[in-house]
Symmetry: D2
Subunit: 361 residues, 4 copies
């Protein structure tokens, strides 16, 4: 399997460039009989859509999805689900100035060095716009997981640059442009972003994602672990530089007597392991946290080289997210959904005849 596909049984393939005619995706392995309309996908795409507030890129895209196959009379047929999302607002001229320079922190340089050729328009294949495919595929996975197992996957912005945001409520998340779980912080975040945008700079972010009602038993030790596949899926999102499961890096300083989640006949007493033990889901919430680096396309001038290796400086003036992390919440949810669905199918393939022997009261 080459680099533009992921998943063993619920398999997602993606193609498209930022300024090409379209992005497209193929979801293979979806069980038949799932009710699926383009609106089910559109709803999730609209959550990550650019142009939804002044704090994200002003590129105007409807991100309208067209389902091309795999659905008949409103239900999945078990065959490959192909879909397209046309690019509408591609202003390639914005990029003329930087086509011959490498942006520090951007994949411009590595694509050219790897392939000897690159599509410089809008970042080409390296554009975060590729994540529309992940969100679309994730919408299908989310729907199936919810209907088949009751799994609920939700995420939120846990930190914006230096601003940590403690979780208050899921209700808050949909009510502000940041996916922030605390409405009372919105003003503060807006002011921070306004100042940042004005400065021409960018910042990183932390996004947390939680999957509730995941059944016990999903995940294949020892290399195909659930958490290993989650780690890969998250790290494959543009700008992600770190992934934690459960207590994550805080585990380092914990004692075993503090970290190991005690059990009673009623269930676990804590969730330091983030819902995964030995690579297999425990039945608790699967809890994932990711770090996103600051956007590399900024107006602040920076030292760099040109395609001939000569010294120069670069400023990026196109339309960019000053914090890609803001729109990352639906993307991270989608990736978690795809991995969980893949493992749901893998689990019932091997262990379809097993009833978990221990039941909590």
């Amino acid at each position: 399997m080459s680099g533009n596909s992921f998943g063993t049984l619920f398999c997602v393939t993606s193609f498209g460039e930022s300024h090409g005619p379209a992005f497209g995706g193929v979801v293979d392995g979806c069980p038949p009989g799932l009710e699926l309309k383009s609106e089910d996908i559109q709803k999730e795409l609209d959550r990550r859509k650019p142009g939804s507030s002044r704090h994200v890129t002003q590129r105007r895209e409807t991100d309208a999805v067209e389902i091309l196959s795999g659905v008949y009379e409103g239900r999945t047929t078990g065959t490959a689900i192909g879909f397209l999302i046309r690019n509408e607002d591609a202003r390639s001229k914005d990029y003329a100035a930087i086509a011959e320079k490498f942006r520090p922190g951007h994949a411009d340089f590595t694509y050219l060095q790897k392939y000897g050729i690159r599509d410089p328009r809008g970042g080409g294949r390296a554009s975060a716009r590729e994540t529309v495919i992940r969100v679309a595929a994730g919408a299908i996975a989310k729907k199936w997981l919810r209907e088949r197992y009751g799994v609920l996957i939700r995420g939120y912005l846990a930190q914006l640059g230096p601003h940590k945001i403690a979780f208050k409520s899921w209700d808050a998340v949909g009510g502000n442009p940041f996916f922030s779980p605390d409405d009372s912080r919105t003003r503060e975040l807006e002011q921070f972003m306004d100042a940042l945008r004005e400065s021409g700079d960018s910042v990183g972010a932390r996004v947390n994602v939680v999957a509730e009602k995941v059944p016990v038993g999903w995940g294949e030790p020892v290399y195909g672990r659930l958490d290993a596949d989650i780690a890969a899926a998250m790290m494959s999102i543009n700008a992600v530089k770190g992934v934690e499961i459960g207590a994550g890096f805080a585990s380092i300083a914990q004692k075993g007597s503090e970290h190991g989640d005690e059990m009673t006949p009623q269930g676990f007493l804590s969730n330091n392991n983030g819902g995964v033990l030995g690579g297999i889901s425990t039945g608790q919430d699967v809890v994932v946290s990711i770090a996103l680096k600051p956007t590399s396309s900024i107006r602040v001038p920076r030292r760099t080289i040109d395609a001939k290796g000569g010294a120069t400086t670069v400023q990026t003036t196109g339309r960019h997210d000053p914090c890609v992390g803001i729109r990352a919440t639906p993307i991270a949810e989608a990736m978690l959904a795809c991995v969980l669905m893949d493992h749901a199918l893998r689990h019932r393939a091997q262990c379809g005849d097993v009833t978990p022997p221990v039941k909590f009261k």
Copy 2:
């Protein structure tokens, strides 16, 4: 591909249980013509061997590797390399007391729930002893990467419980029982471990791994990214709960003007990205950091349930590492080596005709 294999072209398959007759591995896809003796593998196995100091498990294993195939007259032939490591010091009686209870933080519970059956002797397949296979496979990858591309992969203990250890020198790493890069801290770490062992508790750790001289261009966007595969490989190591590349979680609070690594005709001026941009190696050091949770098998009594779901407590008295992170350095190096080698092969498959256009002076 099922869960006990990883890698696309340099493919590692593992089998074995802690108290079964042996662990075994198969390395498929290794280029032919590599000089390989069992000593090349043994050398690395000895670095992770139990019983090497009082700070690790006292299980006595020679961990002697027997190569069974794929090598002829001292050179790899291009066919699958099979090897065995016999278990010698398996005292299953140590586990009788816990066979019917679940250790908090251990995979006991999830294996039983997933499969409906489990081998309770020494943790069965979930034992960290499985990592011998990773280290053996990694020894092959390390050797090839070094000889073919000059790649050098080294790791060290960066934190032991609450004790952060600043990097001093690679020379120090081999001279103490902790893979600590600072000799002056050895006494302190020993005292900490002695007290910990006495208390019957355990702690977590942080291990950093660095690959030098990695050529530019390895990694397959957008899902088969180098960093995504590294994240999966690291998270698949027993007890790992977090993975960072480069600045990792510190990226969150960075500005773009601080994070993005500037370039000059002589090269990069910093390495916040940890040697990967857009999922492709930059030619800088690949820098990875992982968090390992505290060992779950501890003498401190803990609340748990038995196989019938009833309330009980558990204390684990067998021979265990009070900090699995101490022996994790060669394991993390091995996993990084395997991923890099896989991508070296994948890269030359697709881009074997490409010369990277930009050369630094």
Copy 3:
């Protein structure tokens, strides 16, 4: 990897249904820098196009291909190549009469039984129209193989129903509607087909495909053999029921002293092995022969059952190829091309540093 993708490094993914809006494909893993225009693909699509003579289905499709990604300024960029072929002449009403019945020899029945749901319009996903994707992907593989290694892949109709057609010349193949390698037989074949069409029945066919100038060394023993992957690729073509390499079934009655291809310093003296020994290409022509069964959609009435399991009869009156084998030549060529390209990449991944030690004079 799920069922709608094939290939390890040169990976083809397909989606689409006969009467849906479009068929689409993704080619992942193509080396960068290949000159590629839609005409390069169109040329091959036109060779399998319906409606090109009275002997094939009269469905009118331009089969115009639109490349959506992976190509920039006329060259492949190394990213996924997505493409679409819209369906234009889908007359679903033709199928109303058979939507509730199963055609003997058709996948109607198995799709419904497997998935519990099926798209009955034009055979849905089981339509031979899906082979447009194979031909398009194969066009890319053919072009790269030709330019990079000089490999030339050509096929011809070797038998039409009871009529065996001895190979006369490659020049003949393009000059008649049957891909027949003997112009002098065209009249006979036309008369046979006219009578067959009038009878409302169908026949099978044999297609031979030959790849010249394949370098020695492609193929991965023991399961990833070149011939094993060719066999899978060919058997995956609609209606194929048999695959032979080299002497194929004739090998059964051969003696070893007859079958084994002798060698001299100038090369092999025969090619019973069809260019593959031990799963690895020998440097001779790769020679493949396939059997295609007769089309299942015929006007002759046949006993069958309906969706409720009741007895009935069925006649299929839509537009169908009375011999699917006639248009199968470009499809078989395409599949062989894709497999060879995949193995070309796999070979240079593992053995990129090997020079074959024996040179023929």
Copy 4:
């Protein structure tokens, strides 16, 4: 996945050389809870064992299998099943004479040219002895398929050189050294083989394999078809040059009105399709036929070249099967079993919630 593994969910990995210390295998993905003893595997290994009659190689191997993992207290645990079969009667000196020459029709040449190095002892990795691993893995698959679904997989020798053997009874198959289904032909076959052995030559064979009670619905269109995977599995067996499903090459001359299997409420009226339509099992017997070429190691002198490319002749005097097809029946059964089991798991992964709507009476 590299070349020494096959299967998506029921995944078999193989290693070992003819004159190395051992062959080994790993079966990954087997459902937990299957009763499995080494005798279950040994029974099948004994069916393909060398030295069982004067008509096969006189190499003396007990082929004793040692299970190393994945089984606990007589049941599979769901973890990887590793096993070893030691080589005992490896007389490498037999090969000294041919180490520097290529046997016509043997993989000697291609291994050397691909890898630049080869293990010449007993054919190294190319030895048909590798098929012990297939038979061992197949024994596990057969057992599971039988117990879980009632699937019964059996094969027989259908042709020995020029001698076609019509099927008489399954009972006959076990009662002669040829897996012949007609006891009355044994004398004739023995005489033929005695004369052949005396002449120092070899012949090909045809083996047929049938799987009964395969449920409807197994197989993943359009590339992961059941028949495509069967074709690959069969073609990957040493010496196989052709594969047919159902009517196979006889389909070419059939009319559609003859080939398409009619249906009644009681079931199908014929089985030209060999139990597969559109790549999905129909519920009928899966019927496969393979052609095996004559052994390449013969005493008859043949023209060839040496490792320096010079002209020479070669005679092979070691211990060889004069017809590898004789021992191929259990191997072909095993490969079919592995593919069916893989698809059984893949099917219940995707379609575990589907009940086939049509029931035959």
